[in-house]
C-alpha cells in the first residue's frame, strides 16, 4: 500500500492548520458563511439536513487496517459510532461538530488520511477498479497512475475554481469496474504496439442530464497523460458555463460543442504544453509502481475449500473470487445486510474489519464504488476463519452482485438536496426479496436508488434504477430499466409514470416476475432479456389497467 512521502505529510499537516485557522476566523465572524463555504467544501465539510457531514477521502478506495481502526475511533469519539461508504469510494461521517473538525482532520493526518477536495468545484477523488492489481484481466495496475494523478490534481493552482466539480476514474482492465464512462474524464490503460498508454473519454456523468462519455483520444502515451489532462481541464475551466449550476459540468460543454470541436480546442492547447513535466512524473511513476506492488504471496494449488457448513459454502460461492495468485481469494464484505442502510458500517464492525484485514489480508482493505468492502489477499486456508469472524458481526450476507446488493444514496433521511427518501426503499426491497435462494434464481441484478435527480445513487446506470421524486408533497418513485455502468455503459430508460411509496415494491416485484417469465434460459441476465424483449412486456405488466 502507498505510504506518504515527506511532501505528502507536509501538505496534509499544513492543510490541517490552515483549516483550523479558517474555522477560527469563521467562528469569530471574520469570515462570513459565504466566504467560508467554499473553503469548508474544499475540506469535504457539508451542511446537511440534520447536521454537518464530513466526507473523508479514501484515495482510489485503498484503506489500511490502521486507517480503518482510526475511522472507528473517530466515529466513536466525535460522531455517532458509524460511517457510510459512498459510490466514489469515500466515507462519510454524518454528525461532526464544526469546532471538532480541525481535530478530526489532525487525527486523520496521523494515519495518512484527509478530507481534501472531496467537495467543491475542484478535482475530486480519483476512483478506480476495486480489483486493481489482483485480477488476471488487467493490462496494467491503475493504482500508481491514480496516485500520480491525485498528486497532480491536489491544490492545483489553476484548477481549484472550476465551473463545477470534476470526477476522474481509471481502469487498467478491458472490463470496466470503475464506471469510467459516466465520469467527467474516464481513462482506460491500454497497450498499443507494445507501448502502455491511455484511452481517454470525456464528458460522462449522471445527474439531471445523464451522458455517456465520448472518446476524445484513442491513445495518449503514458508520459503525456498529465499534460493531456491539463489541456482538457484548461479548456473546461475557460469555456465551461458559469451562469447556471445545472449546466456547468463538462458533459454539457462537450455536448454543446460536439466532441470533434472540443477535441480540436484541447489538442491545440496540448501542442503548446505537451512536453511539460508538471510533477516530475517520470521519476514519480517509477517510485509509485514499487509502492503498489502486491504482497509476496506464495502461490498454492487451488484446493477445494468448501465445507460441510452450507452457510459457509453459500458465502464462499457468492462473496469470494479467485485472486490472480493461485491459492488466494478476494473476499467481499457485504455492507448490505437486511435492515441496514446500504453502505453503512458501525464502529464495532470497522474495528473487526481492521483486525481481520491485519491478520488475514496483509492489513489491506478496499472500498468498492458499489458501497462494499474487499479483503484483497486472503489465503484460501483462512477463508473459513474469516467467514466465521465476519458472520458473527453481520458482515457475511452472501448477496454480492445479487438483488439486495443495491446501491443507495443517503436520500431525504440525511441529505439537504434530496426530494424523497431512498434508504427505506432499499430496505423494503431487500426485505421483500430476502431469500438468498430466490435472489440467486434471479441472478445478477443491479438496483440503484437515488433520492433526487442529482443521482448520487447512480440510478441512471442501474439495471433497475429508482429515482425518488416529490409530487405535490408526496414521495413518488420513477423507474428506469436497462442501465449499466460496465464497459459499453448505458443510461436506463424511463418506463412510465412514477409509483407511490405504497406501490413501488409491488412494481419492482412485477418487473422481476416479467423477467423470470421472459428469459429464455436460466443464465440469461436481466439486461440480456431486456435487450431481446424491449420495454413492452414490462410496461404492459406495470401499467395494464387492472
Amino acid at each position: 500500500m502507498y505510504k506518504y512521502t515527506e511532501l505528502d505529510k507536509k501538505i496534509v499537516t499544513n492543510r490541517v492548520e490552515q483549516f483550523r485557522d479558517q474555522v477560527n476566523r469563521r467562528i469569530s465572524g471574520e469570515l462570513s458563511e459565504d466566504e467560508f463555504k467554499p473553503l469548508r467544501l474544499m475540506n469535504g465539510l457539508y451542511l446537511q439536513l440534520h447536521a454537518y457531514m464530513l466526507r473523508v477521502a479514501i484515495p482510489y478506495g485503498e484503506l489500511s487496517s490502521e486507517q480503518m481502526y482510526k475511522l472507528a475511533e473517530i466515529s466513536d469519539k466525535y460522531d455517532r459510532g458509524y460511517g457510510h461508504f459512498t459510490t466514489r469510494q469515500n466515507i462519510q461521517l454524518n454528525w461532526p461538530k464544526l469546532i471538532d473538525v480541525p481535530n478530526i482532520l489532525k487525527e486523520l493526518a496521523e494515519v495518512e488520511m484527509h478530507a481534501i477536495q472531496t467537495s467543491g468545484n475542484c478535482i475530486r477523488n480519483i476512483t478506480t477498479d476495486h480489483l486493481a492489481g489482483i485480477t488476471e484481466d488487467e493490462i496494467e495496475d491503475p493504482r500508481p497512475w491514480c496516485e500520480l494523478i491525485r498528486k497532480w490534481s491536489t491544490f492545483h493552482p489553476e484548477f481549484t475554481f472550476l465551473p463545477r466539480k470534476f470526477k476522474i476514474a481509471i481502469t487498467g482492465s478491458l472490463k470496466d469496474r470503475a464506471a469510467i464512462e459516466v465520469h467527467d474524464i474516464g481513462l482506460r490503460i491500454i497497450k498499443l504496439n507494445r507501448e502502455i498508454g491511455f484511452e481517454v473519454f470525456v464528458g460522462g456523468g449522471q445527474g439531471r442530464s445523464p451522458f455517456i462519455a465520448k472518446k476524445i483520444k484513442e491513445f495518449v502515451k503514458k508520459e503525456n497523460i498529465l499534460s493531456y489532462l491539463e489541456a482538457i481541464l484548461r479548456a473546461y475551466n475557460e469555456l465551461g458555463r458559469r451562469d447556471n449550476i445545472y449546466k456547468a459540468r463538462i458533459k454539457i460543454l462537450v455536448n454543446e460543442l460536439g466532441i470533434l470541436s472540443f477535441k480540436k480546442i484541447v489538442e491545440e492547447e496540448w501542442k503548446k504544453i505537451k512536453n511539460k513535466d508538471f510533477i516530475n512524473a517520470k521519476k514519480e511513476i517509477d517510485e509509485l509502481k514499487k509502492a503498489f506492488k502486491i504482497p509476496n504471496l506464495k502461490s498454492n494449488i487451488n484446493k477445494n475449500v468448501s465445507e460441510k457448513n452450507k452457510e459457509f459454502n453459500t458465502w464462499l460461492n457468492q462473496n469470494t473470487q479467485k485472486h490472480k495468485i493461485s491459492g488466494y481469494s478476494i473476499v467481499f464484505i457485504s455492507l448490505k445486510p437486511l435492515k441496514v442502510p446500504p453502505g453503512d458500517i458501525s464502529s464495532d464492525q470497522m474495528k473487526v474489519v481492521s483486525k481481520v484485514a491485519k491478520e488475514f489480508s496483509f492489513s489491506e482493505i478496499r472500498v468498492t464504488h458499489e458501497q462494499n468492502l474487499i479483503l484483497p489477499h486472503v489465503n484460501n486456508d483462512d477463508l473459513s476463519k474469516v467467514w466465521n469472524i465476519l458472520n458473527k458481526i453481520n458482515l457475511a450476507t452472501p448477496n454480492i452482485g445479487l438483488l439486495s446488493d443495491s446501491i443507495c444514496c443517503p436520500g431525504l433521511d440525511y441529505c439537504a438536496l434530496a426530494t424523497a427518501r431512498s434508504i427505506p426503499i432499499a430496505q423494503r426491497v431487500s426485505n421483500y426479496f430476502n431469500s438468498i435462494e430466490k435472489q440467486k434464481i434471479i441472478g445478477e441484478m443491479k438496483i440503484k436508488i437515488s433520492g433526487c435527480i442529482n443521482a448520487c445513487g447512480h440510478h441512471h446506470v442501474g439495471n433497475i434504477g429508482i429515482l425518488g421524486l416529490d409530487r405535490n408533497g408526496e414521495e413518488f418513485y420513477q423507474i428506469t430499466l436497462g442501465g449499466s455502468a460496465k464497459e459499453n455503459s448505458k443510461i436506463g430508460e424511463i418506463i412510465g409514470p412514477s409509483f407511490s411509496s405504497e406501490k413501488i415494491i409491488e412494481a419492482i416485484d412485477t418487473i422481476i416476475k416479467v423477467y423470470l417469465i421472459q428469459r429464455t434460459h436460466k443464465k440469461e441476465t436481466f439486461l440480456e432479456t431486456l435487450e431481446l424483449t424491449g420495454l413492452k412486456p414490462f410496461k404492459d405488466a406495470l401499467y395494464d389497467n387492472h
Binding site: I27, D344, L412
Partner: protein
C-alpha cells in the same frame, strides 16, 4: 427571495458550532434557539418582521447559519415532509447491525 406561502411559520436554522438543527423559541421574553421544534415560536405572516432583525443579527453574530421560515398549520404541525424529517431527527434504526 422565494415567495412565502402559508399563514403560520416557525424559524429554523443550524447552530454554527455543532450544526444541530434549532428552532426559534421564546424563553423569559427573549428569543433563543432550541433543538426542539415543539416549543418553537409560532409566527403569523404579519409578525415575521418583528423577528427578522433578531434572526439576522444572530446569524451575523455567528450563533446560527442559514435561518429560514418553515410553514406550519395553525395547530403547529409541520407541513412539508422534508421539514418533518428535519425536525424529528433521524428516523432510521442503524444500530440493528449486529
Amino acid at each position: 427571495m422565494k415567495k412565502l406561502k402559508g399563514d403560520y411559520f416557525i424559524y429554523s436554522a443550524n447552530r454554527l458550532k455543532d450544526g444541530k438543527v434549532v428552532f426559534l423559541c421564546i424563553r423569559e421574553r427573549k428569543t433563543i434557539w432550541n433543538e426542539s421544534s415543539k416549543n418553537a415560536l409560532k409566527i403569523k405572516r404579519n409578525e415575521i418582521e418583528l423577528y427578522e432583525n433578531q434572526v439576522n443579527s444572530d446569524e451575523r453574530n455567528c450563533i446560527i447559519i442559514g435561518p429560514y421560515l418553515v410553514e406550519i398549520k395553525e395547530n403547529g404541525e409541520i407541513i412539508k415532509l422534508r421539514e418533518k424529517i428535519r425536525s424529528n431527527g433521524l428516523n432510521i434504526n442503524y444500530k440493528e447491525n449486529v
